[in-house]
C-alpha cells in the first residue's frame, strides 16, 4: 500500500484547519456579537456548504479557476497562480467546504459567554481586542477544540470538491478518499480496504479524543 495519499490527506486537513481557524475567529466573533441585517445573510452563506452537494461547490470553483474564463486567466497570466489540479487549489476548496464546521462551533461557544463577564471587562476599560483575547477565547476552549477537530476530520472526508478541481494526481491531489475510489475502479478491493480502514481508524480516534476531553472524562481519568 502507498502511504502517500494518506499523508497528503493529513497535510491537507492540517493546513486547512490552521488557516480556517485564523479566518474563522473574527468571522465567528462578528456573527456572535455583531448586529445588523447583513448578519443573517452571512450566517446563511457560511452554512451553505452543509447542504450543497460538494460537486456544486467544486463545479463553480472549476469555472472560477479555469484559464478558459477571465478570472482564471487573470490568475494564471498576471499572478502566475495555478489552482486547478494543484494542492493550493485543494486548500482553497477545503476552506470553503469546511467553513461551517469551524465557524459554527466557535460562534456557539462565543455566544455562550455570560454577558456580565463582557460588561465587567468593559467597565474596567479593556479594549474589544483585549476582551476577545483574554476573556472570550480562554473561556471558549471546548468550542475551539471542537471547531478545529471537526474541520480536520471533515477535510479528511472530502471527496466531491477534490474530484472536481483536484483530479487524481499522485503526490499532488490524490488524497485518501480519491485513492480508495481509484482502487475500486481498478478492481483492487484489498487495497481500497486498506485505505478505508486507516482513514476509519484515525478519524474515529480523533473524534473519540475530542468527546473524551470535552466531556471531562480525561480530566477525571488523570485525577
Amino acid at each position: 500500500m502507498e502511504w502517500n495519499p494518506i499523508i497528503l490527506t493529513f497535510e491537507l486537513a492540517a493546513v486547512t484547519s490552521a488557516i480556517l481557524f485564523l479566518l474563522a475567529l473574527p468571522l465567528a466573533r462578528w456573527l456572535a456579537f455583531g448586529k445588523g441585517w447583513l448578519r443573517p445573510v452571512v450566517e446563511t452563506l457560511v452554512a451553505m456548504p452543509l447542504v450543497l452537494p460538494p460537486t456544486v461547490l467544486g463545479f463553480y470553483l472549476l469555472l472560477l479557476f479555469s484559464p478558459q474564463f477571465a478570472f482564471g486567466r487573470f490568475l494564471v497570466e498576471q499572478l502566475h497562480l495555478r489552482f486547478l489540479f494543484t494542492f493550493p487549489g485543494l486548500v482553497i476548496g477545503s476552506l470553503i467546504y469546511s467553513l461551517p464546521f469551524m465557524v459554527q462551533p466557535l460562534q456557539a461557544g462565543f455566544s455562550k459567554i455570560a454577558p456580565n463577564l463582557l460588561d465587567a471587562a468593559r467597565v474596567m476599560g479593556k479594549s474589544p481586542l483585549t476582551i476577545f483575547l483574554r476573556v472570550i477565547l480562554p473561556n471558549s476552549r471546548p468550542a475551539l477544540l471542537t471547531g478545529l477537530v471537526l474541520t480536520f476530520a471533515h477535510t479528511i472526508g472530502e471527496f466531491g470538491v477534490v474530484l472536481m478541481i483536484g483530479g487524481n494526481i499522485a503526490g499532488e491531489t490524490r488524497v485518501g478518499s480519491i485513492a480508495i475510489y481509484d482502487q475500486v475502479e481498478l478492481g483492487n478491493y484489498g487495497q481500497a480496504n486498506h485505505y478505508a480502514l486507516v482513514l476509519f481508524g484515525i478519524t474515529f480516534s480523533i473524534l473519540l479524543l475530542v468527546y473524551l476531553i470535552n466531556g471531562g472524562y480525561l480530566k477525571r481519568l488523570l485525577k
Binding site: L117, V123, N139
Partner: protein, 295 residues
Amino acid sequence: MMEASLHKTLVNGKRKFQVQLELQAVQGELIALYGPSGAGKTTMLRLLAGLETADQGKMVLQGKTIFEAAQKIRLGLEERKTGMVFQETALFPNMTVQENLEFALRKGQNKAEIAPLLEIMDIGELKARRPENLSGGEKKRVDLARALVSRPDLLLLDEPFSALDPAMRSRMQDYLLRIQAEFNLITVLVSHDLGEIFRLARRVYEVKEGKIIRGGKPWDLFGKGEVSGKFRFTGIILQIESADLMQILTLMVGSQPVKVVITPSLGRPFQVGEEVMVVSKAFSPMVFRLDEKED
C-alpha cells in the same frame, strides 16, 4: 461629587420605554435605587457605568464632564474610573482570584495596589484559587475587591447580594460599610431589600416606570416618619397564623425568624413574602442582655 442627568429611550419592538435619571451624590455617600423589577434601575446603573449611552443629558464626576450629549462629549470607559458589581458573579473563570484582580488594574497602576484589597476583603488565602472553587460569599467578596482595584470614583452595585442567604448578606453588608468608610466612595446600590437599604444607604430613590418618583432618607420614605415608636425593624413575612381575633406573623428579620402578634387591620390583609416594618409602642418592654441565655 457626582451630577448625572441622563435620558435614554429604549425601543423593544413597538414598545418604547423612557429612562430618566436625575441623581446627585457627594463623596462618601451611598445612595440606593429601589423599585419593582423592570422599572429601569439596571438601565440607570448601566447609563452611569457608560455601558449604555444616553440620548440626552450630562454627567459630571469629580468636576470632570464625562458625558454631555449636546457637546458630543463621551469619555471612553478606559478614562472613567468606575467599579461595578453584578447580581451574578462576573469573575473570569479562566483566571485565579489574583489574576482576576490584576486584570482590573488600569494603565500606570502597580500590582502592589492589590494587596490591601485582599486584606480588607479577607481573601488573601483564596489568591491562587479559581472562581469554580469559591463559595457564593467568597465570589462576592472577590467581585467587590476587583471592582475597587482601579480605586474608582464611582462604585455601582446591581443587587449584588440578592443571591446570598441572609447571614451571608449581612456579612457582605458589613464589608461594604467597611469599604465605604475606607475609600470614601460614591456608591449607587440597586436593591430590592429594604432592610439592606435601611442599613446601608444615606438616601434612597424610588424608581417607577423609568423615572425617579421620590427620594429622601430611608426612614422618611419608608419608615412612616410620623409614628412615634421606639422600636422598629423590617422583615419579610414567612408565615401568617390566625388565632381567634389575633394573627401571628412570623417574620424574617436579618437572619432570624421573629414572631409578632397583631390584630388584623381593616385594610388589605398581609401576605406571605411581603416586606413589612414592625413598630413597637409598648410601654414596658422586656430587655435581655445578649450574653445571658433565655430560659
